[in-house]
Structure formats: C-alpha cells, structure tokens
Amino acid sequence: MQNVILRRVAGAVFTMWIILTILFFLFRLGLPDPTVALVSDGLSPDDRAIVMQRFGLDRPLHEQYFIYLRNAVTGELGRSFHYNAPVAGLIGERFLNTIVLMIPALILSYTIGPLLGVMLAWKRGSKLEVGGITTGLVLRSAPMFWTGMLAVMVFGIWFGWFPTSGMRTFPYTATGFLDKILTVDFLRHLIMPTIVITLYYTGLPMLIMRNTMLEVMGDDFIEFAHARGLGARRVMYRHAARNALLPVITQLAITVGLAAGGQVVVEVVFSWPGLGLEMFNAVRTSDYPLAQASFMLLAGLVLLMNLIVDMIYTWLDPRISFSSEGGR
C-alpha cells in the first residue's frame, strides 16, 4: 500500500517536471524575444539587468533551464507586471478561493450523480429512465459559461435573489481567509456558481453509474442477495452500487482535470477572484510571470487532486486496475 502511494507521488512529481519543461520551452522558444516574458517593459536598464541576472537570462539556454527549475521549486516566480509585486504572494489566496468553489461542487456532483444513476438503473425501462438519460445528456451539453450567464441574468438580475459577482459584498472587513468565508454573505455568493458547476458535472457520473449498475445487476451475487430476502433498496444501494462505483471514481480523476480548466470560465462569468480569473486577466494584460505561475499552480492542483482520487481508488479496489470510460 505504502509502496503504491510512493509510486503515485513519484509519478506526479515526474509529470509536474514534464509540464514545467513544456512551459519553459514554450516561453523561451515560442516567443520571438523571451525576455519580454520576464522583464517588464517600463524597467530602467539597471533594473532590467538585475532581473535578467536573477532569472539567468544572460546565460546559455541549459543553465537558464536549471535556474528556472530551481526558481519554480523555491517559489521564486518573478514579479507580476500588472501588480508590480511578487507573484508568489499574489496567487496564494486566489488558489484558496478557487479550491473553495471547486471542491464542494465536485463533491456534490459526484454524490448526487451516482445516486441518481442507481435510481435510473433501478427504474430501468421506465419513462423516468429515458427522461433521466436525456436530462443528463442535455446538462452535459450546455456549456458551463452559458448556464452561468443565464443564471446571473435570471436569478441575479431579474429576480435579484443572488449576488452576481465576487465572493463577498463590498465593503467588508476580514482578517483571514476563514474569517472571510465563514459568513452568510459568502454562502449567498457561493450558491449560484456551485449550482452551475454541479449541474454540468452531475450528468456524466449519473450515466456511468447507470451503465455499470446494469452490468453489475446481472451478476450472481446480486441475485444471491435478493434470494437472501434483502430489501430491494438495500440490495441496490449497499450491494450493487458499491461495486459499480469504481468506473465513477476513474471518471472523477479525469473530471478533476477538466474542472480545473473549466474553473476559468466559471470564475470569469461570476467574477470569482480565483486563480482562473487571475490567469485570464494576466493573459489579457500580457502579464507573463503571473500567467505562468497561475498555470503551474492549476496543473499542480490537478495532479494533487488526481493523487487523492488515486488513493480513494486504491482504498476501494486493492487490485488497482485502471481503465477509463466515457468522458474526456
């Protein structure tokens, strides 16, 4: 078990290294003049020289690469052009803001989705099933940014039920992160984006759960459980569902990666001050250091969450055979 975990962590570190390398070469070789990616335009020649030296831009490419890796590991990510402040200090809280929006929505969709999936499999052949499948497909096909826009327009502007942007109503005072989010005002801001994300991601686990449930339900042990006189509900949820859960968990690992990317549009639509919005703004203002660091952190988030999902999987199914189904 410990061995497996160690192997997974090593794999994640390896992947992160590759991603950092891709990023390095994209910026150094893709740009006509790589210095623009690190050195702000308005700097005086002296300051320019200092920054060039700190990031080793005056050295050969392979030395630059090692300086870059060292900087990435030690969190020396440069200064944001836009804010004129160290990037590392800027994105810390943004990262927390992203997590606090993303995790609850994923947990919700991967709780509600499979439960609904069990129900669809149970009511197989009924109108409910056809309706459920169609609803699931429709929810998956409506892009999140669009449902978000509709939600803001209808429930935010027309009905005025929920605030339409940000995490808190200005002005507010909060000394720390917990202080900021442990309020009713924050919850009111959280509801709409959470529902939008949840709606989008619920469809897939629901459909996968239904499919696997139908396969599992043909298995002997289910018939045996029925034969033992166990209640239908108990058989469905305790025996069949438990065994059908593994493909859903596999999908969760993939969804985590998708959600980290999809987070950008949700944050843009709801002006949620998270990493995605920060990166979006950084790209618009050509703030290279900030954009690069946000990307590293988002990729790191995907790896971390994948690691956690892997652990859950290992815990649920010691055989650990990976296979993937359905989603991208």
Partner: protein, 585 residues
C-alpha cells in the same frame, strides 16, 4: 467498410433519439452551409434605424415614445392642449393630452420634402402654426385649424420658422422663415391667414435682402419687433420689426438653434457644445457639460431651459446652472420644448440600432453596436461546426494511431506512450490554451492545436485497450507468421476491428471539440474577426449587456446545446456497435 457503415446506420436507425439527433445535425449543417443566403444582414455591419420618436423628461425620469412615425421628427412646438412636431416626408405629428394619457395623430400632408421647423403662437386665438422645410416648403395652419400650403419666393430650403402676434393690430400675425444662403422671408397675415390687404388668395411672402450669404439655421421671436436669427459660423442677426441687423457674436462655430423668452433673455446653441446667453445687452458664451453638437434649445416661462443633441445628449438649465440629463438612449434628438415641469424632445435621425430586442427586422435582435445577432449566429454555426470537425478529426487520428501503436507493440513503447497520456490528463485545457495565446496570438490555429493536443488522450486509451484484446487473437498471429510487417498488421488487420470505436470516438470528440471551441472563444482566445457561437457570447460579456440582453446570449447557447446533445444522441447509438458488451442488454 461498407458493412461497417451498414451496421452503424442500422444502429442509428433503430434508436429514436439517434434519428432525432442526426436530423438536427443535418439541419444545422445545412444552415451553416447556406448561411450567406439565409442571413438577413451582414453580421459585421452596424445597423441603423430612423424613426420619429418623442422623449419625455420629467422628474429625473425619461419616458420614450418610440416610433411615433416612421420618419425622423425634426422640430416640436408647444400647441394648444399638446404639441405639434414636424419631420421628414412632410410629416406632421400632433399630440393631445398629458404624458401619461394622450395620443399621437399623424397628419398626412402629401408632401415629400422634409419639414425642418415648426412654430406655434399659442397666445393668439386659434393658435396659428407655421412649418417650413426643404425646397421652400411652407405650411400654415390658420385660426380654423386646417393646414395649407403657401408658396415662397424662390426654392431655397428653409431651416427655421417663427411667428408672433402683432402688438399694434389685434389678430395680425407676423411670420418669419429663414433658410440657406441668407434667405429671410417675412409675411404678415390676419387671423384667417389672409394677407392684410385682403386682395389676393395667395399669401404674399416678402423676401428681405440678405445681409449675409451664410446659411441661416434658426429663428425665434419674443414679440413682433424683437427676435434673433442664427446661422453658420456664429452668425447672429437681430430682428427689429422691419429688418435684420448683424450682431457681434462671441463664437465662429455654427449656431444651430436659438430660443427667446423676452428682450432680456435668449439662448443660442451650436456645434461642439457651444452655448450663448443674451442678457439684454450682449451675447456671451456660457460653459455647459456637453461637447458634441447641440441641435435644439427651448426656454420655459419660468426661465428653465432644455438643450438636446445627438446620441441622446441632453442638458437642462435650472437655477442658473447647466446640468447634464441622462436620457438613457443613443437616439439623436433634433427638437425640444418645455412643458410646465417637464421637457419634451423629438428625433430621431438614423441612429445605431443597438441592443434592439427581437423584431421582424432583426429576428434575434441586435448587439450593443447594432449588429444583427441572427446573422451572427448563422455564420457562427459555420465556424463552430468547422473547427469542431477539424479538431475532432485531429484528435481521432492522433488518438487512434497512438492507441494502435501502444497496444500493438506493448512493453516499453506502451509505457512511454501511456505516460504521455497521463501527462496530457494533468494539463487543464483552458489554461493551456491561454498559455498558447500568450505565446502566439488568438486564432483558429491555437484552438485546434489546444483541443487536438490535449484530448486525444481518451481515444488513445480506449483504442489501446481494444487493441490489446485483438492482438492476442489467432488471426494476428497468423498474419505475423505469414511475414506481414508491423505497419501492415496494425493498419490492415487490427485497425478495421477498432473502426467502430474510432467512429464513436470521432462523435464524442466532436461534441467535446464544439464545446471546447465555444469555451475558448468565449474567453476571447478565438479568431477576433470570425464569428462563432463562443465569440458572440464573448462579445456579449465584454459589452456588459449580457446581464439584461437575453436575446443576445440565449440563441448561441441554445445552438451549442442542441448541436452537442444531437451528437451525443447519435454517439449513443454508435456505442452499441462499438461496444459489444452493450449489445447484450
């Protein structure tokens, strides 16, 4: 191959949802192909709209009476129990009643020329009214209430009209009209609109020798012996009862309108926010909050004044200071009047028909700069489907090949390729595309590249696992024994067996690619000059109007949804062919 298509077709045919999906897709593709024919407008063109509209400004609120007439209204005057406005195509529109409760009556004068100015003398019984316009058109409403045409000497266009009751003879009315190249026309009539000598039926308009050759643009009278005429390049003339004398003007800009309350108080406005004040002695320049052309000025009995201009510009003079009014509209206003506590403005020349809700002209309404959304959505479908298809092809080709190679060779090749697949799963799509845009620039290439590079991973995994099970089958071994090369075995012997799965993955990839294209375009990463459904939503977001303009955001989103869900419906049917396990159920 033919057999495969036969299988696929049978699978689609036996599934009602799949038939529905396929039909919808066919319709969408047809619409996309025929977009230039079906589109009602050029999607990039700003659309203008002209109409005769009136805007009430009362107690800080504005109330728009849009489309009172089909043609732009140029001038308005307070009338007995309401207003009279005139405009293009000889339009005369009469309003009776209060703001909340009243009706417009359009009088068809039968004239084609534009009426540019109207004046009403409410102080005289029967409220005589004078309207003048292009080509020397003069219409007069006498005390009996009927409009009739009078003939002007010459055919110079007339820009301004004024009339005042005579101070000496009861029932006598002085009428003035001014126009291009210094035209000034004067006439005096009795209450029945007949000339004073009563001799001729044709009213004699007398032409006063012009002291200037510049165009005269407006005239206003305090009484029959005092008034002002304004015109191009700061021209100001004073009417003294018999003729005009030039006045010293503080500006060289064109003066477009003038209003006079009495001999001690008059206002003139003109280009670039020019405002002049007459205090009984001299004209002096005032500073106001507006900087564009001011088209009309009116003064109320209590000294308050209203000034209106293009793009909904408005300001009011209250308690000695000009205050900008927020009209809330971009329409162009050309005439104004003061009504007790309220103001009334009329327009509007062709204005950008921005954020219009759906109508027969614009089926899905217009954007914030007057572009036709219906046409944008049609053209957007082309881009969305084309990019979606190209990206899906790329994804499927890469994914299938990687899956084939990986599954066929196994061992080290397999683990390296699957390692790459794992790395691809760790790269979030939208941020990766943003990095690409940062390095290069927004465009079709970046979108296809981002989607193509990152999403072949699932196809590769699925194809690989199917190849793994095929490789062990006897016929592959037989082929190997027979001396077939690796490439031959992979593409001739194995590939046909994974083809159904490849088709399924093509469909799934297409659904994903269309969503991804929309998402990336929504973030502004798409080609800036090409419309796609995502770009339309991107522009809606940028404009800020998406929070209210439902007609702008609903159609592109619904189309994305319909397209993707149709692909899903079809792919569900293909799944039955591709995945034999499902066939049993």
């Amino acid at each position: 191959m033919r057999e495969l298509f036969h299988h696929l077709w049978n699978a689609v045919r036996s599934d009602r949802l799949a038939i529905f999906g396929l039909s919808v897709l066919c319709i969408l593709i047809t619409l996309a192909l025929l977009a230039p024919i079906i589109a009602t407008h050029d999607p990039t063109e700003m659309n203008y709209r002209a109409e005769g509209s009136a805007l009430w400004i009362e107690g800080g609120q504005t109330y728009l009476d849009a489309g009172v007439t089909e043609y732009s209204l140029r001038s308005v005057a307070t009338d007995d129990g309401g207003f009279t406005a005139v405009g293009e195509k000889g339009t005369i529109a009469v309003y009776r009643g209060t703001r909340a409760d009243g009706t417009w009556e359009i009088i068809d004068t039968g004239h084609e020329a534009t009426l540019r100015s109207v004046a009403v003398d409410t102080g005289t019984g029967g409220a005589p009214a004078l309207a003048v316009g292009d080509g020397g058109l003069i219409l007069y409403r006498d005390g009996m209430g009927a409009w009739h045409r009078e003939h002007a000497p010459g055919d110079h266009s007339l820009n301004g009209a004024a009339l005042a009751a005579s101070a000496r003879t009861a029932g006598e009315v002085l009428r003035l009209a001014v126009g291009e190249v210094g035209t000034v026309l004067v006439s005096r009539v009795d209450s029945r609109g007949k000339s004073l000598d009563g001799a001729t039926a044709v009213t004699p308009w007398e032409r006063i020798p012009p002291g200037v050759t510049r165009d005269l643009l407006d005239v206003a009278l305090a009484d029959d012996a005092f008034g002002f005429v304004v015109g191009q390049r700061g021209t100001i003339l004073r009417w003294n009862g018999t003729d005009l004398e030039a006045m010293e003007s503080p500006t060289f800009r064109d003066l477009l309108a003038v209003a006079v309350r009495d001999r001690d108080y008059a206002l003139a406005v003109g280009e670039r926010g020019t405002v002049l004040l007459w205090d009984g002695q001299v004209w002096s320049e005032m500073s106001g909050p507006l900087s564009r052309s001011l088209r009309s000025v009116s003064i109320g009995e209590d000294g308050r004044a209203i000034v209106v201009g293009n793009f909904g510009d408005m300001m009011a003079l209250e308690n000695g200071a000009w205050r900008r009014l927020d009209s809330g509209y971009d329409r162009h206003f050309r005439g104004s009047t003061v009504v007790g506590e309220a103001y009334l403005a009329v327009g509007t020349d062709p204005y950008v028909n921005a954020l219009a809700s759906p109508s027969r002209d614009h089926l899905f309404g217009t954007t914030h700069n007057g572009r036709d959304i219906f046409s944008q959505v049609l053209y957007g479908g082309r881009t969305a489907l084309a990019i979606g298809f190209l990206a899906a092809i790329m994804v499927t080709v890469i994914g299938t090949n990687v899956g084939l190679v990986s599954g066929y060779f196994g061992g080290r090749t397999d683990s390296v390729l699957m390692r790459i697949v794992d790395i691809m799963y760790a790269l979030p799509l939208e941020p990766f595309a943003m990095i690409l845009v940062l390095v290069w620039r927004p465009g079709v290439g970046v979108i296809i590249l981002a989607v193509g590079l990152l999403t072949w991973r699932t196809t590769a995994r699925l194809i690989r696992s199917q190849v793994l099970s095929i490789v062990r089958r006897p016929f592959v071994k037989a082929a190997r024994m027979a001396g077939s090369g690796h490439a031959r075995i992979m593409y001739v012997h194995i590939a046909p067996n994974v083809l159904p799965l490849t088709f399924l993955q093509l469909a799934v990839a297409m659904a994903f690619a269309i969503t991804a294209e929309a998402t990336l375009s929504f973030l502004g990463l798409g080609p800036p000059r090409l419309y796609s459904w995502g770009t339309i939503l991107h522009q809606a977001r940028l404009s800020g109007a998406w929070r209210t303009a439902w007609w702008w955001i609903v159609p592109p989103g619904v189309l994305i949804m319909i397209t993707v869900v149709s692909v899903f419906f079809v792919s569900r049917a293909l799944e039955v062919v591709a995945n034999p396990r499902l066939r049993r159920q």
